[in-house]
């Protein structure tokens, strides 16, 4: 499939421990796909391997049909952005400088910062609503603003696909929504393909076109939020009892999973 990122019988892990045990998936272009699953199920490993931060033991990662193992680092970086979990920047780094790092893959060894670079940085800062924080330092931002600044850096890269590992970690509910609504807007208005890992099932359900559930390194459920979020799946994946309710808010049907507990 063109314009998409796919993984084929992927096995990957750390040191000698295999975490992903043969996963084949295609993340479609222009959609928001969220990966859920318990700790150690291979969510982050999947994201890191797909974003070539980790070499797979076997299997392949294909970007627009080409194996990323055969592509050079900069070409990949122009198409694919990846934000690891809670990245760290120097506290005195100004926001616009962080965002400007996103232009790195578009530069040669000696290139100067061009007008195109400047436009990309301005666009990324505007798209993330950080205009008035442009000259603020990372240490002066709230957690949500900081996450938006990192997303702005990835956007300045002008990728078609953005991979995010738990972009809402350590954020309160307000900032969680702020970040996810930003991602939805970027997907809506700019056609950005988003693949992310989330822990919160209900946030995953309300912001994703598609949810993939992993357990012990294997895909166990894959489909729309309505299809994946059912009591059986949740019991199977997380080993908890839950009740699914559907609510209608502003004409939009929402699926909500209410966890009830571990014991029977």
């Amino acid at each position: 499939m063109t314009g998409c990122l796919s993984v084929d019988s992927l096995r990957a892990g750390y040191a000698k421990k295999e975490v992903l045990k043969g996963v084949s998936l295609c993340f479609e272009k222009g959609r928001i796909t969220t990966v859920i699953g318990p700790n150690g199920s291979g969510k982050s490993t999947l994201l890191k391997t797909a974003g070539r931060l980790l070499q797979p033991f076997s299997g392949s990662v294909l970007l627009e049909g080409k194996s990323i193992a055969e592509m050079d680092d900069k070409s990949i970086a122009k198409k694919l952005g990846i934000l690891p979990q809670s990245p760290i920047a120097p506290m005195d780094l100004p926001v616009h400088c962080l965002v400007a790092f996103g232009r790195t893959p578009h530069h040669g060894f000696m290139n100067r910062f061009s007008n195109e670079d400047r436009d990309a940085v301005d666009w990324a800062i505007n798209a993330t609503g950080l205009e008035d924080k442009r000259f603020k330092r990372i240490g002066q931002l709230s957690g949500g603003e900081r996450q938006r600044a990192w997303i702005a850096m990835s956007l300045a890269q002008k990728p078609e696909i953005l991979l995010l590992d738990e972009p809402t970690t350590y954020l309160d509910i307000h900032h969680q929504f702020e970040v996810l609504e930003l991602l939805r807007r970027l997907n809506d208005q700019h056609g950005l393909t988003v693949v992310m890992v989330l822990h919160d099932l209900n946030l995953a359900a309300s912001f994703s076109h598609r949810i993939i559930a992993l357990k012990e390194g294997m895909t166990v459920a894959d489909g729309t939020p309505e299809e994946v979020l059912c009591a059986d799946n949740i019991y199977n994946v997380f080993n908890i009892r839950s009740k699914i309710i559907r609510i209608n808010e502003d004409g939009i049907e929402k699926t909500v999973a209410v966890p009830l507990g571990v014991r029977h």
């Binding site: 040191a15 990949i76 952005g81 990245p87 400088c97 962080l98 100067r112 910062f113």
Partner: protein
């Protein structure tokens, strides 16, 4: 990144720091030339460069004793500070400096072996020291390498290797006690008796190292965002780290081969500089070079004059200042 530089409110402060630092460097040079067992007045000093019939004694003191010593000290300070600034960024560890992670010890042992066993071949000391430094860096890197050079492992491996190499150096001084006249001072780091030969020996390494570090600043900044982010931006992280570590080894080795084991410059100067100009390596690198040179020039002047007629190795003075500062940084919790 022109846009960023022009509009950054820190730039005024950086400009002031540049003026102040350059001023300090010239003051340091002048004071250093004037002070010593033979006093030199300003008119004497000017006469050396202008009058044809200058006082020959003073001319000798300035041109052949003090100036080469001072300028060598400046280069050594610059190189050590640059080496430390690069290592702190590459290893993402505020405690990294060529002394602590074993690079100086590698250079020192190699240089000492040449000095003791092949005293006639002093010209090969710098390349030998460089091989020693790179050897130490490689050993540390491969010991600590476990699917990525983990920072804490790297520093711990460096500390262990440092101790191991220092033991070798101590053994050499005991076993060859008849030939260690020079090496005792050298182990403490001294600028005593440095000539133009030393200056010209260090100069090419300093030029290569300085420009390498200035060009590398961009990559140091990207590495500061973490390996995963850097890789995501298309940087070949392991290659960049390896080349930058090599550059740090070159800088440290050139300094060590000239003056011996001068600790703490590589550690404290980048820290002080970071407090003043911030952690952006495009500024941190050149300012560390400047302040490294200034610090060693002042420290050496003090080492020469404080206990006159006795002279302390400048390395001892640096340790007197550096060690408490190091402890102060530890108690404050380094950022």
């Amino acid at each position: 990144m022109k846009h960023g530089i022009q509009t950054d409110p820190e730039n005024g402060k950086r400009l002031v720091t540049a003026f102040f630092g350059t001023g300090l460097l010239f003051c340091g040079l002048l004071i250093s030339v004037a002070k010593g067992s033979v006093g030199v007045s300003l008119s004497d000093f000017l006469a050396v460069f202008t009058a044809a019939d200058a006082n020959q004694g003073i001319y000798q003191v300035i041109m052949n004793i003090r100036l080469p010593r001072i300028l060598t000290g400046g280069l050594v300070g610059m190189n050590m500070a640059l080496s430390g600034a690069i290592l702190q960024s590459v290893l993402k560890n505020p405690l990294a400096d060529p002394g602590i992670i074993g690079i100086s010890a590698g250079a020192g042992l190699a240089a000492m072996v040449v000095m003791i066993l092949f005293p006639a071949m002093s010209a090969i000391i710098p390349p030998a020291a460089f091989l020693g430094a790179v050897g130490a860096a490689l050993i540390i890197y491969f010991i600590a390498y476990n699917g990525g050079a983990h920072t804490l492992r790297l520093v711990l491996a460096g500390v262990a290797l440092s101790a191991f190499l220092a033991a070798f150096m101590s053994a050499l001084t005991v076993l060859f006690s008849d030939r260690v006249q020079g090496t005792v001072n050298w182990m403490a780091g001294t600028l005593h008796g440095k000539s133009w030969n030393h200056f010209y020996m260090v100069l090419p390494y300093s030029i290569v190292g300085f420009f390498g570090a200035v060009f590398g600043a961009k990559y140091l900044n990207i590495l500061a965002l973490g390996d995963d982010i850097a890789r995501g931006l298309g940087l070949q992280v392991e290659k960049a780290k390896f080349l930058l570590t090599l550059l740090a080894a070159l800088l440290a080795a050139s300094a060590v081969s000239a003056v011996g084991l001068m600790g703490f410059v590589g550690l404290i100067i980048p820290h002080i500089t970071r407090l003043i100009v911030g952690s952006d390596n495009r500024f941190l690198i050149p300012f560390s070079a400047l302040f490294g040179a200034v610090t060693v020039i002042f420290a050496d002047t003090a080492a020469r004059t404080l206990f006159s007629p006795y002279e302390l190795p400048v390395g001892i003075l640096m340790a007197f200042i550096g060690a408490p500062f190091f402890l102060y940084l530890l108690t404050r919790g380094i950022k």
